[in-house]
């Protein structure tokens, strides 16, 4: 045992010794850092241009990462927090831990105008219900039509308290129905097969054929087309528009490498980064590239409108919205 400890210590000092270059540390969620995720390619590309080391530290969720930074307090090694959804960025803003990035955002080509000067988007997508064309031909094209489906038509959703898509649907319905959202949830609840903790469980159940539709992203079919050569998964186009997921990153005020951190944020708006995103994070990049999107993305359905709720309003009512949902769906 003592030998092992010795080697661990030796190993960690070796790692420290090799770094005369500055190390930029990014805290993020773990599917970003998976070997098939964007992190390895991003690291390689950024280290070519920055004369630095890039290190990712991951936890199981982006909000968990934020809490980790808060718990670490002054000791945190994080320079950048990457991966919060715009809908959760308000929670992070309240902590006062992040600084203004001061970057020119005119390059961004998002479906909505971006004005936030703390949180910078690096990819985006839309929430949508995925279905299997081999199983269902008739699918709903709006929230109203969803209610009118036969009783046996089931959907799987995620808990908004623990999952980003779950929160997305909550806000989506809030945006469409306003004060009547609670009533809508009540009517929808017979169609809900189960509410899972996270996306993985829900999508897994759907692939097992447990329900007709699952809450996911409009870009989900791209994975099946590109990686599995399957074209039977599609998303239901809702005429009210689709709620958007915009993933953002921000620099910590406590960072010792602010200049480098800014350089990284600038890099997330580059073409290099934009070309990595689609097939590693299965979402849209925030800038247009010469190369364009990979084949397979062209067959995805693009919503006519990206719905979003204003940050301030969301922050004021977050708890209220969730309680409304809890009371309605019992």
């Amino acid at each position: 045992m003592r030998k092992i400890l010795f080697f661990i210590l030796l190993f960690s000092t070796l790692i420290q010794a090799q770094t005369d270059k500055p190390t930029l540390i990014i805290y993020t969620y773990d599917s970003f850092t998976a070997s098939w995720g964007p992190a390895p390619k991003v690291k390689e590309a950024f280290e070519k241009v920055c004369n630095c080391n890039l290190e990712f530290v991951s936890t199981s969720s982006a909000i968990g990462t934020l809490r980790k930074i808060q718990l670490e307090g002054a000791n945190t090694k994080a320079d950048i927090l990457l991966g919060l959804d715009k809908s959760s960025a308000g929670i992070a803003r309240k902590t006062n831990l992040f600084m203004k990035h001061g970057l020119d955002t005119s390059k961004l080509s998002l479906p909505v105008k971006w004005t936030d000067n703390e949180f910078l988007p690096y990819d985006y997508g839309y929430f949508a219900f995925v279905y299997d064309t081999n199983r269902d031909k008739k699918i709903p094209h709006s929230f109203e039509e969803l209610l009118k489906m036969p009783k046996s038509f089931k959907i799987i959703i995620q808990d908004p308290r623990s999952s980003t898509p779950g929160l997305g649907l909550l806000l989506w319905i809030k945006k469409v129905y306003g004060d009547k959202a609670g009533e809508y949830w009540k009517k929808l609840s017979p169609h809900i097969l189960t509410v899972t903790k996270g996306w993985s469980e829900a999508y897994g159940l759907f692939l097992k054929g447990e329900a007709n539709m699952v809450l996911s992203y409009t870009t989900s079919p791209a994975y099946h087309i590109i990686a599995e050569k399957k074209t039977n998964y599609k998303t239901a186009d809702f005429k009210e528009g689709h709620y958007g997921q915009v993933e953002v990153s921000a620099i910590l005020k406590s960072s010792k490498h602010k200049k480098l951190a800014k350089q990284f944020l600038e890099f997330t708006m580059s073409e290099t980064f934009a070309n990595i995103i689609p097939t590693t994070n299965w979402s849209y990049p925030v800038v247009k590239t010469k190369k364009g999107l990979p084949k397979g993305f062209d067959s995805l359905h693009t919503p006519s409108k990206m719905l979003l709720i204003d940050d301030e309003k969301l922050e004021k009512n977050r708890k209220k919205y969730i309680n409304e949902w809890l009371n309605a769906i019992k």
Binding site: T33, N75, S162, E201
Partner: protein, 544 residues
Amino acid sequence: MLSNSIWRFRLSIIPGSLISFLLLLLAFGIFYTLFLNSGFENFSSVLITSRVQGLIKFTLFQAFLSTLLSVFIGTLLAWSLAHQNSFRGRDFLIALLSSSLVLPTLIVVFGIITILGNNGWINRSLLYLFNFSFENSIYGLGGILVAHVYLNASFAARSLLHIFESIPKERYKLAKSLNFSTYRRFALIEFPAIKLSLKSISSTIFLLCFTSFAIVLTLGGSPSYNTLEVAIYEAVRLDFDIPLALKLALIQLSITMFLVFLSSNFNIGISNIKTSSNQIPWKEPKKLQFFQLIVISIFTILFILPLISIFVDGFGANFIKILSNKLFLKSLITSLVIATFSSIFTVVFALLISDARRNFNINYRVKKTKLSSFINILISFSGNIYLAIPSLILGLGFFLLSQKFQAPLLLWSLGAILCANILMSLPFALSIIYPTMQKVALRYDKLSFSLNLNGSKRWLYCEWPYLKSSVAYVFALSFCLSLGDLGVVALFGSNEITTLPWYLYQLMGSYQTKDSAGVALILLVLTLSVFIFLPKVFKNVANR
């Protein structure tokens, strides 16, 4: 008087008590750090909402039902298996019984859904044969109960089987010669023998169901079927309300304390110890035999089908791709190393703690006083810490401690994982090892005291022959539990340590269902082989 007898048994009391003390200290440290982090004023102002009260009520209710069903089915199955001891594939079936408990819960849930879900095998065959299917039968309270019974009844059956098998055959002979009915035989011979274990197993199962997370969330169907853990999760992650989380954790702690209190103060009169492994020469009556075989077949099918579905799902995976992945190999090795260390520690801890605890439960060793019963409860509580502290709070506590006492993160995370795995296996280990050790003491104390047999000799000649099969089982169980545990790794977010279940969840979280099914199959095969081969290895070593 008390101090005299404690002095006399110091060698058996001190090591185990020390471990217990350290475990309690750890639990206290975790709560204390959290408390420091939240501040007293905040703490006293937090209110428990009516929703949380509802959650607690529901959780108690579902845990109660789950325990009742699991223990009933477990006993029935163990009883049947004990009387049918010579059919083919029995060893394999017993190994299978243990494996469901130790697999990552989500895999088991998916296995159950593959069989009983809307689009499950049963529904699909019904649809095909009779054009009829159950709708959503598995989602809701029913689903929670099915999954809990699936996991825990097999554990109960497996551990009770040990007890049934160690009932002296002379007693069965006596029952036969007195012409006992099956009921009288159970009531007068078998039930008194399993009573002690039944209590400790029931309280362990109750706590497991009370703290169950993935099952309740996935199969519950709606947020009204949630658990306390969800409320804690919400408080920590979403609201960052550590005082509330702490309060919720304290509720769980008090419930656990209460249960431990209830189940730790028992005395047993008869000592049941296996005297010979000779089989009973006569068979059960035809009708009874038929009934027992039916019970065994029904539950075998029910228990095995979800595991078979894991095989079927995993078979299509590209194993060359999985096995050649560097991250997979790294996770596999990490998991195996951690499992080895934590299972060794668990066995040693369980033996020492049980050894120390029995002093306080046996009147002629340490006279029963208020103090000695209190120590007895404390020791038995120290083994159940994992069930008393919600895992999220445990992770949070470790994290805060790591902030306080700076050390390389890798060391901290290794320590935390090892520690969490040991804590997780201890309740099972103790509920298996302790009853046997107490019985051995009751039966052989006088003899070994008069022969002056103590220390390592006593262990070797007196305890080991009776403990070896339990130890083999506990070793296998804790090895596999730690192999299948996602645990606190995720909260720590250390890049250096990736375990096999973590890798599996990663695959699931990024559309790679095929590969994740393959990894699940590998985990299942690993677990089964440990359960089948480890007891054999122990047997061979012992026979030499």
